[in-house]
Structure formats: C-alpha cells, structure tokens
C-alpha cells in the first residue's frame, strides 16, 4: 500500500531523481506511507563511496541516507539491475532490500510514480 517512487535514472545526469527523492521526503513528512524502488541505471544511486566534490554536486548517497530517518518506509533495489552494474550488498548503502521481482513490489503499492 502507499506510494512507490521509482527511480530508473542514473544519479547526477539530470534532476529527475532528486525531485522524486524530494517528493518522497515530503510524503514522509506528512506521514504518508512511501517507499523508493531503484531500477535500471537508477540502482547506481545506491553505490557506496560516491565522492562528488569534483562535479560540484551534493552526494545522492548522503542525501539518500536521510530517507529512513525521515520516515521513508523502504528502499528497494531491482536485483537484475544490481547484477548488471556489479552491485552487491558489500558495495551498497545499508538498509536496501533486494527485489528479485520488482513488478511484484510495484503491484504491492497503490500509487506508483516514476522519476522524470
């Protein structure tokens, strides 16, 4: 139930993902159940050790680490996309649930919105 924001865009290329994150934070602020699903190139949001000083942007890794504090219920990652990008629990941020079947995750929510 609740809202699922799907981020299928890579980090830093566009503002789409950040806007989705912002929306998720706003929903959480008003106690609306919300979760995030990262799929496609979007799984790269979840990689550890992003060092962004050279590109003059805030680290999405650090921004994202506030999600659970703010009350976002879950961070899901599409397992197939993670495998494609060499992402395993060891090189990913903590608190991510691997979704073997992300279609199933999508079906479990009542509102689904894609970033961008």
């Amino acid at each position: 139930m609740g809202t699922l924001m799907v981020i299928d865009q890579p980090p830093y290329g566009t503002w789409a993902g950040r806007e989705a994150l912002d929306m998720a934070f706003s929903l959480a602020a008003f106690d609306q159940p919300v979760a995030l699903l990262f799929t496609g190139a979007g799984v790269n949001w979840l990689r550890k050790s992003q060092e962004t000083t050279g590109i003059g942007q805030k680290s999405v890794e650090k921004n994202l680490s506030a999600a659970l504090i703010f009350g976002v219920e879950a961070l899901y990652a599409d397992a197939t996309a993670c495998a494609r990008y060499g992402l395993v629990p060891d090189n990913m941020v903590t608190g991510v649930a691997m979704a073997e079947n992300s279609a199933e995750v999508i079906r479990q929510h009542s509102h689904i919105a894609f970033a961008g």
Partner: protein, 94 residues
C-alpha cells in the same frame, strides 16, 4: 603528441539507446571518452570492443563511486579531456 582520428564522446548511461548506437559505431583505432552518466558503462559487464582506447573523466568516475571498476579505461581530468578534443581530427558527441 599522437593524433586521434575519431574521438567519440559519450555521456549517456548504458540504458540510453544512444549508448548502444555509439558502441556500434566505434571502429578499431578510434578513441572513446566516457563522461557523465556514460562512465557507468565501466561498471556493467558489457564488453567494450578490443582495439579501441578508452578514457573516462575522473571527477565523474569518483562521483559515482566506481573508481575500482575502471580497469578498461584511463582516467583523465578536465585539462586532459580538452587536450584529447584538440588532438582529434573529428569529434562525435553522442
């Protein structure tokens, strides 16, 4: 200073249709420069073809936390990137 015949500059993630199109268009001897979201190509298991020289923009690699998976590419900074474009006879910005 070696001259480059064709330099391909790719800034699209592997999911973007233009990424596949770029990788198809590259010929042996060409140089590929990965910037922005395209540096993620290095983190995928897709095999970049042999015989091409690959560079990747270091700040973009660091931002995405994939510095350890860039064995196929030489990392360059902004100044070296400019140098590459100057050396190239032809630049294709994908």
């Amino acid at each position: 200073m070696t001259e480059i015949d064709t330099l391909h500059i790719l800034n699209k993630a592997p999911e973007h249709p233009r990424s596949a199109e770029c990788l198809r268009a590259i010929e042996p001897g060409d140089v590929l420069l990965l910037i922005e979201s395209a540096v993620l190509t290095l983190a995928t298991c897709s095999d970049l073809q042999a015989g091409i020289t690959i560079y990747a923009l270091a700040p973009d690699v660091l931002a995405r936390g994939i510095a350890h998976s860039t064995a196929e590419a030489s990392l360059v900074d902004f100044a070296a990137m400019v140098e590459l474009t100057v050396q190239a006879q032809k630049v294709i910005s994908w």
